[in-house]
Symmetry: C2
C-alpha cells in the first residue's frame, strides 16, 4: 500500500448510491481521504458508508491509511482535489449546482454518470443524447472544471475490479484537458485498469458515444446474463 500512499489524494465523491459507495470504498482502501457528498450531510447512506469503510480500514490495522468522511455535495467538492460525479445522471447538473461552482473551479471532475431515464420503464432511455451529452452539459455548466468522462461503460463491480472480467478489455476516457485525463488515467491504473486498456477518445464530445453505448450494454447484460461484462476493442 506504500505506493498508493505516495500519491494519496483528497477525493470528493458526489453521490451516495451503489456506484458512489463502491468507488469511495475502493479509494479508501487504496489509502485516499474520501469525502462522500449527498444532498444533505449525515444522510443515512453516507453515514452507514463512513462506518463500514472506517471499519474496513481498522480491520487491517489502518495499514491502508485511508479516511472516510461524509457531508453535503459542497463539502465533498470543497474538500476534494479530485472529484467524482457518481450521482444519478438525471440529477447530476442539480447536484453539481449544489456543490457550487467555486468548489469545482480548476478541479479534475471525473464524470462516471449515465443520463438514464427509467420513467418509461425498462430498458432505460437517455435524458440527453445524439447532439449533446451529460458530460458536455456538465463541462458547459462549469467551464472552470476539468471534466473527464470515464467508467460509465461498466458496472460498479467492474469499475473497481476490472480483473473480474478476464483478459484485456477497454475503459475509455475523454475530455478537453490533457492534464485532467492524465490524472484520471493514473486513478484508473490505481483501480486496477492496465494502462494499455485505457483508450483516449479525444475531446469531451466523445461523451455522446460513451453515453449512447448504454442501451447496447443493457442488451448485452440481458443476452449474457451477467453485469460483469465489458468490450475489448480489436483492430487489424
Amino acid at each position: 500500500m506504500n505506493r498508493a500512499k505516495d500519491i494519496t489524494k483528497r477525493i470528493g465523491v458526489l453521490g451516495t448510491g451503489v456506484v458512489g459507495q463502491t468507488l469511495a470504498t475502493k479509494l479508501v482502501t487504496l489509502g485516499h481521504t474520501v469525502t462522500m457528498g449527498g444532498r444533505s450531510a449525515h444522510g443515512e447512506a453516507a453515514t452507514a458508508w463512513v462506518a463500514s469503510a472506517s471499519a474496513r480500514v481498522a480491520s487491517d490495522g489502518g495499514a491502508s491509511g485511508g479516511t472516510a468522511l461524509e457531508g453535503t455535495f459542497a463539502d465533498a467538492a470543497g474538500s476534494g482535489e479530485v472529484l467524482i460525479n457518481a450521482t444519478n445522471g438525471a440529477h447530476s447538473l442539480d447536484a453539481l449546482a449544489q456543490a457550487g461552482a467555486p468548489n469545482l473551479e480548476g478541479k479534475v471532475l471525473v464524470d462516471v454518470a449515465n443520463p438514464l431515464d427509467f420513467s418509461r420503464g425498462m430498458p432505460p432511455s437517455l435524458t440527453v443524447r445524439n447532439t449533446d451529452s451529460l458530460g458536455e452539459q456538465i463541462q458547459r455548466a462549469h467551464r472552470g472544471a476539468r471534466v473527464v468522462k470515464t467508467l460509465n461503460t461498466v458496472n460498479a463491480d467492474v469499475m473497481v475490479d476490472p480483473a473480474i472480467v478476464p483478459g484485456g478489455h477497454a475503459i475509455f476516457v475523454c475530455g478537453d484537458d490533457a492534464g485532467a485525463k492524465e490524472t484520471t488515467t493514473s486513478l484508473l491504473v490505481e483501480l486496477g485498469w492496465p494502462r494499455p486498456d485505457i483508450i483516449d477518445l479525444g475531446g469531451i464530445g466523445a461523451c455522446r458515444g460513451l453515453e449512447m453505448y448504454l442501451p447496447l450494454w443493457v442488451s448485452l447484460r440481458q443476452a449474457t446474463g451477467t453485469g460483469h461484462l465489458n468490450i475489448r476493442v480489436v483492430t487489424e
Copy 2:
C-alpha cells in the same frame, strides 16, 4: 464452393452504395443470384456493379456459379427470397415503400442500415434513436416482413471479411422472428463469421442499442485510425 451452392439463394440487395456493392459482390462469389435494386433500373452504380461482379464470376470459369442482376428496389425485393436493406438509413423507409409491401411480405429482411444524419457535419447524429430505431420503424411499416438487424456495427470490409480483424469479435442479430434470425445467422456464417461470435440480442427493440453504438464506433475509428475495427464481448 459446392457447399455454398447447396444453399444457393436468390437475394435482393436494396442499395447501390459501398455497403450494397460490397455485400452483393461477396454473395455472388458465394454462388448466390443477387439482384441489386436502386431508385431506378439501369442506374450507373448498379450497372457498373453487374459488369464487375459478372467479370469476377467469369474469371474463375464460372465455378462460383453466382449471378449478378440489377433493377429497381421493387425488382430486387420481388426477386429475392432473402432481402438486404443496404440503403442510406436516412432514406430506408422511402426505399422500402418503393420496393412495395407485397414484395416484402413473408421475406427475411436483413437490415444493415444506420440512420445517420450528416446534415450537421461530422460526427453524424442519428435521425431516430433512444425510444425508437430504424429497425423498429421498418418492422412497424412492414408487419409482414421478418426484419433482422445485423452487420450495422462494422464497416463494409469487415462485414464480408471478418478475419481482417484478428481473433474473435462480435456480430449481433436481433429481431422478432426466430426463423429469420436463423436464416440470417446462416448467411453470416457464409460471409465468414464464426458461429460463436454471432450474438443474439433478442427482439427488434435491441436495434436501439445497435444503432446508438454508432457514435462510439465513430470515436473508435478516430482513436484507432482504422475502420477495420470491432468489439469483442467479454464476461466473467
